[in-house]
């Protein structure tokens, strides 16, 4: 992994101070999995999937119902650290239409407090097409800020300045032993965010779902591991 960090210097998508040039905007890929745009004091988080755990109960699979709590705690931590003015939740914030009703009272309270503390935008996702009513925040289908457009699901083909979630990207690398981690994937003109929710898995960037979305020669996966971000070129990617 150390070798990967050395590659940072010769990369044209990188600007000074760990900032990445995304279609003209200088953004940071935070190791927690959120995208940070310091100039706009904006924080973007994708695929929170609140109450994904409890959604399994219907089929008698009783996974621990503490995922919402864990996700909220991680989100509060990063908001406290980066102190944004605005937060955009990039869709699939709630695992299903019933999720809000299943929130434990303590979790509901914590979430409302978080939403109330900043200028909060709910982008609609396929899991949560109509955003929750009683929580505050502004519901939108998509939103444009400067050179960037924020939506849940990436449009097919190239899309300049698109910031999206939905696919839960993850990358796998390694020679003798492989490592698979959630990752930001970005070719300088489009960026897909890793899923933030505690129970969300990852889809390998080699999967057909990513086909045609990026210019491969400029594609980098920013892999998240142990509080750090490791940029990896597409030539290193392994399939599952």
């Amino acid at each position: 992994m150390t070798a990967l960090r050395e590659k940072q210097g010769d990369d044209d998508v990188l600007t000074a101070g760990g900032l990445v040039n995304l279609n003209g905007a200088a953004v940071r890929f935070d190791a927690s999995g959120v995208l940070h745009w310091p100039e706009e004091r904006l924080l973007v988080v994708a695929d929170l999937h609140f109450e994904k755990g409890s959604s399994h109960g219907v089929r008698g699979r009783f996974v621990p119902p503490y995922d919402t709590r864990a996700t909220l705690r991680a989100l509060a931590e990063v908001i406290g650290r980066l102190r944004p003015e605005r937060v955009i939740a990039l869709g699939d914030s709630f695992h299903d239409g019933d999720a809000e009703a299943r929130l434990a009272p303590a979790d509901l309270e914590a979430l409302s407090a978080l939403v109330g503390s900043v200028d909060w935008t709910w982008v609609a996702g396929n899991h949560d097409p109509s955003p929750p009513a009683g929580l505050g925040g502004r519901p939108v289908a998509e939103i444009v800020i400067g050179p960037l457009v924020f939506r849940h699901e990436p449009r097919p083909g190239r899309a300049l300045g698109e910031v999206a979630g939905h696919l839960h990207p993850a990358a796998k690398v390694g020679r003798t032993r492989s490592v698979r981690r959630r990752a930001f994937v970005c070719d300088g003109s489009r960026c897909l965010l890793p899923a933030f929710g505690a129970y969300t898995g990852g889809l390998n960037v080699m999967d057909a779902a990513f086909k045609g979305l990026f210019e491969r020669s400029r594609l980098i996966a920013w892999m998240l591991s142990d509080g750090r971000v490791y940029p990896v070129r597409s030539a290193e990617f392994l399939p599952d």
Partner: protein
């Protein structure tokens, strides 16, 4: 009393017609049986255990009036349970001789995973008199709605290979099944058949119901003394015995000569990969083209059956096998057993040696082939143990909570139950006698709604307490899920290996023959073009298709991907103690080969030999690093754990540990700081470093970061039914609809660390892969008895571990050369 009077004339005539008379233990079992007493039969292989176990049932069934059409169908009379399907089939065949010979009208049938649906159905309608099955099938039978009528006439349960069954989670499942059977048919008696064991009272207690707070109840016991002394030798080659490694390649020429002298040889090894390696190496040298075959659990079933048939027909001269051939299955006329590597436990050795000459009156012949010098000591210890009849099996631990959870769901599938009655029933099982009511209720809660403090699943509960005070299943689909997921054997996912063509363009060419299965993790590390050894061939990895690995035949003869070649089982406590004793007692060395004796004498002169209750710690510099060698002889798992903890502590004391390696005998740690000097200064003292308290905070801290507990948790979660192994139509999509158990583990550990499944996972880790029990025993044993020897160079005893450090993971043809070269240098240094 004339015991033969117990035997009906028909039976006596049959014995006489074969020129036999019933053996004393067979009559003893008959007497206990007819009196309705449970009994444990301890006998070596070949003592006629099976007939002894079934004789009371056969006598009883012979006297039973014939079933009259129009009357109620009778349930099963005798249930036989064995750990292996194949064993059940084998017993069916073996019983045919007396049943046919005596002219008894008794229906004997097997029921295993292979039994067809129509036959299962017919067995339910017309139960056989004797049913031969496995613990998993018993669980399924008990979870059926008609379980009570099926088993209400049950008289006897015969449990074969009991010593092998009871120490695993399958044993827990069986213990619970047995407690259920007792509730359905209160009068049943049990018959345990076992090889010689160190603690027969544990098995005797296991066989009968227990009452909490009272002294243990024990079954009767009948012990058969060993037959003819086995003739076991340690293989002696002209070449010197290697210092390290696991291949035993030095012995192959000599072994082929041995095989050639015999009719049929069984060659046992400890792991699948070792089997592959030995098999291919033997064939490389097999100029005479002796028919030698391979048999292990990952091979395709069809291929295995072919080998078994060829063996039974006497068409083979040798078979290289792993534990799939371990248990008492009869496969023809074996006259030599070769054991490559150390046997790791005297019981395993006895079991395997028992495979030769399956007749008590002739001595079995066996050859032990140690692969390195420490294994010579271990083989000698095992050999002594076999002669004196001492045996070792792991102690029976408390029943697992995840297995109990599975049983609770199974109980609800069979019908409504009352918690009070069910708790009493479960706690009567020996393995669960320590289970308190509070823990039992938590397990019931786990089954009902997941057992969470945050009550998120009340409305989805699988079982519910109803108004009449009974727990009931809430939906039939949970019954179906139970049936699909019953059992305790969670393996790492297996992938099918299929012969295809070379990868061209897009992907591998499909469509060839199925070769067998490999563990998923083994393939994860492979790239297209890598070669590995499987099914006796060098194969080239071409790619993966869904759950299949596509391979082609490789042209080269040396596989590129090395495989761990060491033993899967750690050195048993009993043998470890024997090895320590042998080491400290030069008067016992005359039994050892000269090079090994010389080696120990050199150690005595250059360093020292610890007394059996001492721990020797050596420190010495080598190539700019400082080494620490410990000789606890407690087995690889306990050493691995100790190594982890030791490096953590050395780090804290500023000794800059760089790495460690653990074998069954030794732990080697290397540091950047002069650790020997630090001990002399007392910063820290060795006794401080090895304080028993390291199993407290240091262990806790390490476990928090370790993947081990995650793996344990995963299998517990599957056994308990929290996540499903198998679901109908389940197919993972890319974004993973299912939540990975790793994520579940992390979240649960943070938010509900006292959850019952975390407790179960911890219990597994302690008794299994971490071997904490053994480590803790050792730390208290050596407390105050640590001897430090500070040396200026490698000691003779440290040579093997130093070679392992240099040569770990090196396999294939190169490794012996690499090791030899490295060895020469290190040995020169040690002997100077």
């Amino acid at each position: 009393m004339n015991e033969t009077n117990l035997l009906p004339p028909k039976f006596e005539a049959w014995f006489a017609s074969r020129g036999w008379s019933p053996r004393a233990h067979q009559l003893a079992l008959l007497e206990h049986g007819l009196a309705g007493r449970s009994v444990l039969l301890i006998a070596p292989t070949g003592a006629g255990k099976t007939l002894a176990g079934f004789l009371p049932s056969l006598v009883d069934l012979a006297a039973r009036p014939k079933w009259k059409p129009g009357t109620r169908r009778r349930g099963v009379h005798t249930l036989y349970i064995s750990p292996l399907k194949a064993l059940a089939v084998d017993i069916e065949r073996n019983l045919e001789t007396p049943v046919g010979g005596i002219g008894l009208d008794i229906a004997i049938e097997t029921r295993t995973g292979d039994t067809s649906a129509s036959r299962r159905q017919r067995q339910k309608l017309i139960p056989p008199d004797i049913l031969l099955t496995t613990p998993e099938q018993l669980a399924l039978l008990l979870a059926a709605r008609d379980a009570e009528t099926f088993f209400e006439d049950l008289k006897t349960v015969v449990l074969d290979e009991l010593h092998a069954l009871v120490t695993s989670k399958r044993g827990d499942l069986l213990a619970l099944g047995l407690s259920r059977l007792r509730a359905i048919a209160p009068g049943i008696r049990t018959v345990g058949l076992s090889a010689t064991v160190a603690e027969p009272d544990e098995l005797r207690a296991w066989l009968v119901p227990q009452t909490s707070g009272e002294p243990l109840s024990l079954s009767e016991v009948v012990t058969v003394a060993g037959g003819a002394q086995p003739d076991i030798r340690i293989f002696e080659a002209d070449e010197s015995i290697p210092w390290a490694g696991h291949s035993a390649r030095y012995a192959y020429e000599g072994l082929l000569a041995e095989i050639d002298r015999r009719r049929m040889t069984l060659i046992f090894v400890n792991t699948r990969s070792q089997a592959e390696m030995v098999f291919s190496e033997l064939w490389r040298l097999n100029d005479a083209n002796l028919p030698i075959a391979l048999h292990h659990g990952s091979l395709d079933v069809g291929q295995r059956r072919k080998v078994e048939a060829a063996m039974a027909d006497g068409r083979l001269r040798a078979v290289v096998a792993t534990s799939t051939l371990d248990l008492g299955i009869d496969w023809g006329d074996v006259d030599l057993v070769i054991h490559i590597g150390a046997p790791k436990g005297a019981s395993r050795l006895a079991q395997r040696v028992g495979r030769a000459n399956h007749r008590m009156d002739e001595p079995s012949t066996a050859l032990l082939v140690p692969a390195n010098r420490f294994e010579v000591l271990e083989c000698q210890a095992a050999l002594d143990a076999n002669y004196i009849g001492a045996q070792d099996t792991p102690p029976i631990r408390d029943g697992a909570l995840d297995v109990l959870a599975q049983h609770v769901l199974g109980r609800a599938v069979a019908g409504p139950f009352r918690a009070d009655d069910f708790y009493a029933e479960v706690a009567s099982a020996y393995s669960y006698r320590h289970l308190d009511r509070e823990r039992f209720d938590r397990v019931v809660d786990l089954v009902a709604t997941g057992g969470y403090a945050l009550r998120a699943y009340e409305r989805y509960a699988k079982i519910k307490l109803t108004a009449d005070g009974t727990w009931r299943l809430t939906h039939p689909r949970f019954a179906q899920a139970y049936r699909l997921n019953v059992g305790t054997i969670i393996e790492s996912p297996m992938l099918k290996v299929r012969l295809g063509g070379k990868a061209r363009g897009r992907g591998p060419v499909m469509g060839g023959r199925l070769l067998g299965e490999v563990e998923e993790y083994f393939c994860e590390q492979m790239k297209v073009g890598d070669t590995f050894l499987f099914a006796g061939e060098v194969l080239r990895f071409e790619g993966m298709r869904e759950t299949e690995v596509i391979v082609s035949r490789a042209r080269s003869s040396d596989p590129r991907i090395p495989v761990y070649a060491g033993g899967k089982f750690p050195l048993s406590t009993f043998l470890a103690a024997s090895v320590r004793k042998m080491l400290s007692d030069p008067s016992s060395w005359h039994k050892l080969p000269t090079p090994v004796r010389d080696w120990l004498e050199l150690q005595r002169d250059h360093s020292l030999l610890p007394r059996p209750d001492e721990l020797l710690v050596e420190t010495f510099p080598h190539r700019g690093r400082y080494f620490l060698a410990l000789y606890p002889f407690e087995g690889r798992l306990a050493h691995q754990t100790l190594g982890m903890l030791l490096t953590r502590r050395l780090e804290r004391f500023g000794q800059k540990p760089l790495g460690f390696i653990a074998t069954d005998y030794v732990i080697g740690v290397w540091c950047a700081a002069d650790v020997g000097a630090a001990f002399v200064r007392g910063e820290p003292t060795l006794s401080r470093l090895l304080e028993p308290d390291m199993l407290g905070d240091d262990l806790e801290a390490w476990m928090a970061e370790s993947y081990l507990l995650k793996r344990m948790f995963k299998s517990c979660a599957m056994i308990a039914g929290l996540v499903e192994k198998n679901a109908i139509g389940a197919q993972k999509t890319g974004r993973q609809v299912t939540v990975s158990t790793d994520l579940i583990y992390d979240v649960l550990r943070e938010h509900q660390p006292d959850h019952v499944l975390l407790e179960a996972a911890w219990a597994d880790a302690s008794s299994g892969l971490l071997d904490l029990g053994r480590l803790s025993d050792m730390l208290s044993r050596i407390n105050g008895r640590i001897v430090h020897k500070r040396l200026d160079r490698i000691s003779p005893l440290a040579v093997p571990i130093m070679l392992e450090i240099g040569g770990e993971r090196v396999a294939g043809e190169a490794d012996e050369d690499v090791l030899r070269q490295a060895a020469d240098e290190i040995i020169r240094e040690a002997m100077a």
